[in-house]
């Protein structure tokens, strides 16, 4: 390991700009002649639009244009789509209801966009938006997915009878039922995975600029995947052909999944720019973010876990209802299916699994991938269930897990996934040691003396990252391939630009990707620039989500570096009159192995561009491109142990210890990895203790539409985390990496809930375990 190479704890290069307020976000972008937009949004969860009158608004000061869905449709702008086809078990395709970027005759959730106002200032645009008269006829709304499936529930889309989008299954129903029938014990659990609102620090924003002279569009937007945005906007929304549409995602202040999707606003801003003749900027305020960013999770499941007389798991049956909100967002269908049910085997050797998933329309914001995307739901389900089973059997939760662990790799689960490697026992041991599990009974006694209830909970998570082998996801319904691209451009003086299809919105790519180059070529990381986020600069790429930028994005860079290295070695061999096979790259030099002959890196780079003395037939220059398509998913895994103390008087839970022992494969920068775990665990603790999106069941209004009611985790809600890794390198990619971006958010909620339910003795407690709920649960138990 060099001081800046793979494994080095290098401080993030990008942080100086971020923490000094010098980052450049969409709202910092200014184009000559730029004007401001505000959206008219539905105040109702469900209503017919009877009439839209824009006259009064058009007459307001500063107003340039007021545009509605009718005009948008008239101009041929298409509906938003879901890009992953799922078929129901009867073979029928999912029922996708129409989602017009501006609603035409019906609104389906509070915040649904109805019209756009473009004006000289943001204030004028907002004033005029209030003056747009929309006559609504309110309809009954339904916000809960279980209710929406019931007879007589309000219907959202004519395409989807009973609000059912699809009724899908995976696994072997017969084998699973047989396992349950012959089981010595069956553990039954009702699992609710609460709905979350993403809350990226930077709200969504879009700046659409139509250049009439060139008949060309530019869209600055808060995107995790600008190329995908361009592809979708041109192929499905008819905004413009790809060659006439440039998408730029500059610095983006957090995404967590919510900025993967193409939303109505960026399409409408581009279209409105052409219509009004001015560049149009829109920046969401926090209320709009709460209302319209794609939400996460929202599952309700019934679970049965079958055990034989030796306490070995022999079957798992799951019936899940997933709320997808009012419209199908871009990848919404994949989240409760292939990103969820394929991980239900957890870390355990389960011979038979069957999961049935029904997805449902409701009058709520669309639901899509949110940090972890399906895997937190799977992990929460299996880890709450395993803990419950251990309690019912009177077994130590650690021992019960241990006897059911998968120990041989590769391991084929009954739900598609083939785990390549792992050592689940190692993580469990590491976590138990770090948590001083053996000392817990004493700590519990001591807490009791202080009037506190102390509990401990495990979570042995596994997830799938490095999405994904394109052929595999194509066969499962994905509308895109999930490879990644890279271009390594060596400049004549040896400095380097890496153009990557990945997108950094907080992950630290400018540092880690440069570390990889440093490792390979010895060039200092300050001489390596990472270029991303602009479709005019960077070749087609798939973007950042699903912890794929290391395992997939960096693998593409690694492949491109292979080519650069090979060419550089050829040139060096030629210049030093040596055999190409004898050239090694070390500390920024190309050396002839076993001799004292060497050339500094920059001289080889320079030679490639002067082209005065290159091997016969070699093209000048040193620039290589690679596309990397992974051969398998990667499987980060680990063990989290949470210890809590509860104040029975108030119901307040304090997390007194949190241990994370992860297996992420090879690690590029331990400090960044720890940061990812800290952030992920904070988010998971947020889900378990604090965050819960609530809609009013009757009116469909979002009750938690601001920080006055939606509880985000704060520093003082969290303990100092004890994080460590024990790694098994991933055999599937050149760098042996698995991914670490979501693990914390996936693994932590069940650990927290297992600890709280251990402390209070009520296993039915649901997330978020607020003081109110914990207090009420304790009170109900003392009454009985």
């Amino acid at each position: 390991m060099g001081v800046e190479g793979i494994g080095a704890r290098v401080a993030r290069k990008e942080d100086r700009r971020f923490i000094t307020g010098a980052g450049r976000y969409v709202d910092d972008m200014v184009v000559p002649g730029m004007k401001h937009a505000a959206f008219v949004r539905s105040p109702y969860a469900h209503a017919d639009i009877k009439k839209i009158d824009v006259k009064a608004a058009e007459a307001m000061p500063g107003v340039i244009g007021v545009l509605t869905g009718k005009q948008l449709k008239g101009d041929g702008i298409g509906n938003l789509i879901c890009g992953w086809m799922i078929h129901s078990k009867d073979g029928s395709p999912m029922k996708m209801g129409a989602w017009s970027p501006l609603a035409v005759d019906r609104v389906r959730y509070v915040g649904d966009a109805v019209a756009i106002v473009v004006a000289e200032t943001k204030g004028q645009a907002r004033d005029a938006a209030e003056a747009v008269e929309v006559v609504y006829k309110e309809k009954k709304a339904v916000t809960d997915a279980v209710q929406a499936l019931k007879k007589g529930a309000p219907q959202l889309h004519p395409e989807a009878e009973n609000n059912l989008i699809f009724d899908w299954e995976i696994g072997d129903a017969k084998a699973t039922d047989e396992a349950i029938a012959k089981a010595a014990h069956v553990t039954k659990v009702h699992i609710v995975n609460n709905r979350l609102i993403p809350n990226a620090m930077e709200p969504r924003a879009a700046l659409g600029h139509y250049n009439k002279a060139e008949d060309h569009y530019t869209c600055w937007t808060t995107s995790q995947n600008p190329h995908v945005a361009r592809l979708v906007m041109s192929a499905f929304y008819n905004v413009a052909p790809e060659n006439k549409l440039r998408v730029i995602a500059p610095d983006v202040g957090g995404g967590f999944g919510s900025k993967i999707y193409i939303y109505p606003e960026e399409i409408v801003c581009l279209w409105a720019s052409k219509r009004t003749g001015v560049p149009v900027k829109w920046v969401a305020d926090r209320t709009e973010s709460f209302l319209t960013d794609a939400h996460g999770r929202d599952h309700v499941s019934e679970v049965q876990l079958a055990l034989d007389k030796n306490n070995k798991v022999i079957g798992l049956k799951v019936d899940t209802i997933a709320n997808l909100g009012a419209y199908m967002s871009l990848f919404s269908s994949s989240v409760p299916t292939y990103l969820y049910a394929t991980l239900l085997s957890g870390q355990y050797d389960i011979p038979a699994i069957h999961a049935n998933v029904r997805t449902v329309y409701t009058n709520t914001a669309p639901v899509d991938a949110y940090r972890g995307a399906g895997r937190p739901e799977a992990c929460y389900l299996i880890e709450r269930t395993m803990e419950t089973a251990a309690r019912e059997l009177g077994m130590s939760p650690a021992e019960f897990r241990r006897i059911n662990f998968i120990t041989q790799f590769p391991h084929q689960t009954p739900v598609i996934m083939n785990y390549d490697t792992g050592d689940f026992g190692a993580s469990l041991n590491a976590a138990m040691k770090e948590a001083d599990y053996a000392g817990f009974p004493k700590r519990r006694e001591a807490a009791k003396k202080r009037g506190k209830l102390r509990g401990i909970g495990f979570s042995c998570y596994i997830e799938a990252c490095g999405i994904a082998p394109s052929k595999a996801v194509g066969s499962l319904g994905a509308g895109v391939g999930l490879w990644e691209s890279a271009e390594v451009r060596v400049n004549a003086v040896g400095t380097i630009e890496v153009l990557t299809g990945s997108h950094s919105h907080g992950q630290g790519h400018e540092t880690t990707f440069a570390q990889l180059v440093n490792q390979r070529l010895g060039v200092p990381i300050d001489s390596v620039s990472i270029v991303h986020g602009d479709t005019d600069k960077v070749q087609m790429g798939m973007g950042t989500y699903g912890s794929r930028s290391g395992a997939v994005g960096m693998s593409a860079i690694s492949k491109a570096l292979d080519k650069v290295e090979a060419k550089a070695k050829k040139i060096a061999a030629h210049l030093m009159e040596a055999d190409e096979a004898d050239i090694v790259i070390e500390n920024g030099e190309l050396k002839v192995a076993g001799t004292d002959k060497s050339l500094p890196w920059f001289q080889v780079a320079l030679a490639s561009y002067t082209a005065h003395n290159l091997p016969d037939g070699m093209e000048p220059g040193l620039k290589e491109t690679a596309f990397y398509d992974p051969s398998n998913f990667t499987f980060p895994a680990g063990c989290y142990i949470c210890e809590v103390e509860i104040d029975p008087d108030t119901g307040v839970t304090e997390i007194v210890q949190f241990v994370a022992a992860d297996d992420f494969g090879n690690i590029i920068n331990p400090m960044i990895v720890e940061g990812q775990v800290h952030g992920g665990v904070a988010q998971g603790i947020g889900q378990a203790l604090l965050e819960g999106c609530r809609y009013d069941a009757d009116s469909g209004q979002l009750v938690t539409a601001s920080y006055m009611d939606y509880t985000m985790p704060r520093a003082d809600d969290l303990p100092s985390f004890k994080v460590s890794t024990s790694n098994t390198p991933c055999p599937g990619n050149p760098l042996g990496m698995k991914g670490c971006g979501e693990a914390g958010a996936i693994g932590s909620p069940p650990a927290v809930m297992n600890a709280i339910t251990d402390a209070i003795g009520d296993n039915d407690l649901t997330m978020p375990a607020t003081p109110l709920k914990v207090w009420a649960s304790l009170k109900a138990m003392t009454r009985h």
Partner: protein, 266 residues
């Protein structure tokens, strides 16, 4: 935010003059309540009359047990005033736990009580301390000042200029924070005066701050947390929302009261 005309008042009289000129003018102190409401377009005053630069409304005077706090004094100043701490540490402690440092640096005691948010902290202290609210027109007993949710006895052109109280022998404040907003979801201020015990509850009542008879009765017998064992307060007339049921608030009132008394007793 809707457009608004800003005026800076140089004196209390000037402020009254300015506020009468506007069609729907409002006083502005720290702006920690008013400005967020304006930004989200929930408040739309035509004019703002800024009181922050009126020297007469600032500062803390302590003479013996008598305390006078100018309405324009920030929470941060109340929290850190040594003379006030010496006679009524509970009052400073309350101020030290309002919002976050930025809020405490801008927000004022006058703005807080004029706003009378049912989850604000100061109203509990003023009621328990039997304080007097001084305005440009009159003096109002705290018990008469807070009249309901976000309602006070103030007239439109009436300005709170100061708050006065006599420091009690013992006082303590404890609150349970709303998990999301961190305002008081239930806050209890206990004060043991020369001849009585007063206990005021904020954050819990449907009509805003109130005195708890049950707790006052128990503590009058013995000013100690143990006196509250087994004491309950009725849940009727307590607020219920997604963060707390009225039952839960009723339980918290007793728990917070116990902790406040323990603090008061040091």
């Amino acid at each position: 935010m809707y457009s608004v005309t800003y005026h800076r008042a140089s004196s209390v009289a000037d402020a009254v003059k300015l506020v009468k000129k506007g069609e729907d003018a409002k006083f502005l102190s720290g702006g920690m309540t008013l400005l967020p409401a304006m930004k989200t377009r929930l408040a739309a005053p035509s004019d703002l009359v800024d009181l922050c630069h009126i020297a007469d409304m600032k500062g803390i005077k302590v003479s013996g047990k008598n305390v006078t706090i100018g309405a324009g004094t920030t929470h941060g100043e109340v929290a850190s005033n040594e003379k006030l701490k010496a006679v009524c540490a509970a009052f400073s402690d309350l101020a030290a736990h309002i919002g976050d440092p930025a809020v405490r640096h801008k927000g004022t005691i006058g703005g807080s009580i004029a706003n009378n948010d049912p989850a604000a902290d100061y109203p509990a202290a003023l009621i328990a301390l039997d304080a007097t609210v001084v305005t440009n027109k009159r003096e109002i007993a705290a018990a008469k000042f807070f009249t309901g949710l976000f309602e006070t006895a103030l007239k439109d052109d009436e300005i709170v200029t100061a708050v006065k109280f006599t420091a009690p022998a013992k006082a303590g404040y404890e609150k349970f924070r709303n998990p999301a907003s961190r305002y008081a979801m239930t806050g209890v201020f206990v004060a043991k005066g020369k001849d009585d015990v007063r206990v005021a509850v904020t954050g819990a009542g449907e009509d805003g701050v109130f005195r708890s008879k049950e707790i006052e009765a128990a503590l009058s017998k013995k000013f100690d947390a143990s006196a509250l064992e087994g004491v309950t307060v009725p849940a009727k007339n307590l607020m219920a929302d997604i963060h707390a049921s009225s039952d839960y608030r009723a339980a918290l009132v007793v728990v917070m009261a116990k902790r406040a008394v323990a603090k008061a007793n040091g």
